[in-house]
Symmetry: C2
């Protein structure tokens, strides 16, 4: 059970964008250089965040990405599911309905209890990530972080 | 983020073994036929459960697998991690320490806050699965289930 490496990228990029002045943007190239990541592949992940409604993209010579919403309204769950999808890790293929022990269809109207327990665990994971916002992260950064972040990021402009 | 298909197999096989008379066993072949699963590959997963201390294997003509512990002491977490390992899904590759924005080593003695939040979510998932036992499942099965399970399973002996 693995999340893609780009999960770390988008969490860090969103945290970085959350430290910019209101309305300021950063390009995929700037963010790629800031973290030494492959630019074209990072750009794809940032576009996924735009599709998820987490980032807004602006075009033009000073164009780039910024948060589409306040940091308090951007959750880890949105960021993670933007790059990994929302499919639960446990997949029930209904093996209870096959083989010599096959249960009859009338006994399988409800979700398999094993799948239900696995879904509950996924739900607590999702709820935890949904309760963690970029604003929570900002509140734990050192007070000097945003100034440093802005200056290092725009050095690539 | 996907669990292997064999996760469903081991949850069902362990639930099946939990319904046998004390001391009774079932072979990999019986379990494979019970659920119409590929025998050799299922046998490998059952061996993984033996290594995890969840099942005991007995040899000989009537040999097979049985629970190594009472059902109340076998958790979903043990079953899931026996086949998928215990590695957390989020991997921190320390991109905070690379690129133009690289933080100095002295600022990176603590785990990255983003990795910490992801680890917390994994912890709540693990705790939920650790709190779910085979005994919980047995208590929710219809009262007729064990008799049916035993007779269908041993039909393959």
């Amino acid at each position: 059970m693995k999340l893609p490496a780009s999960t770390e990228w988008v969490l860090h990029c969103a945290t970085t964008l959350a430290q910019l002045e209101p309305g300021a943007t950063a390009s995929a190239k700037q963010l790629a250089e800031y973290f030494d990541l492959p630019g074209p592949y990072l750009a794809k992940q940032l576009q996924a965040l735009v599709r998820a409604g987490v980032l807004a993209a602006t075009t033009g010579p000073r164009g780039g990405f910024r948060l589409a919403r306040p940091a308090a309204e951007i959750t880890f769950l949105q960021l993670v599911e933007a790059v990994d999808g929302a499919a639960p890790p446990y997949e029930c293929r209904e093996i209870r309905q096959q083989g010599r022990g096959a249960l009859p269809p009338e006994d399988c109207r409800d979700t398999c209890i094993l799948a239900r327990k696995m879904a509950e665990a996924h739900d607590v994971w999702r709820r935890h990530l949904a309760a963690t916002t970029l604003a929570d992260i900002l509140s734990e950064l050192p007070p000097t972080a945003p100034t440093r972040t802005r200056s290092r990021l725009t050095a690539g402009r």
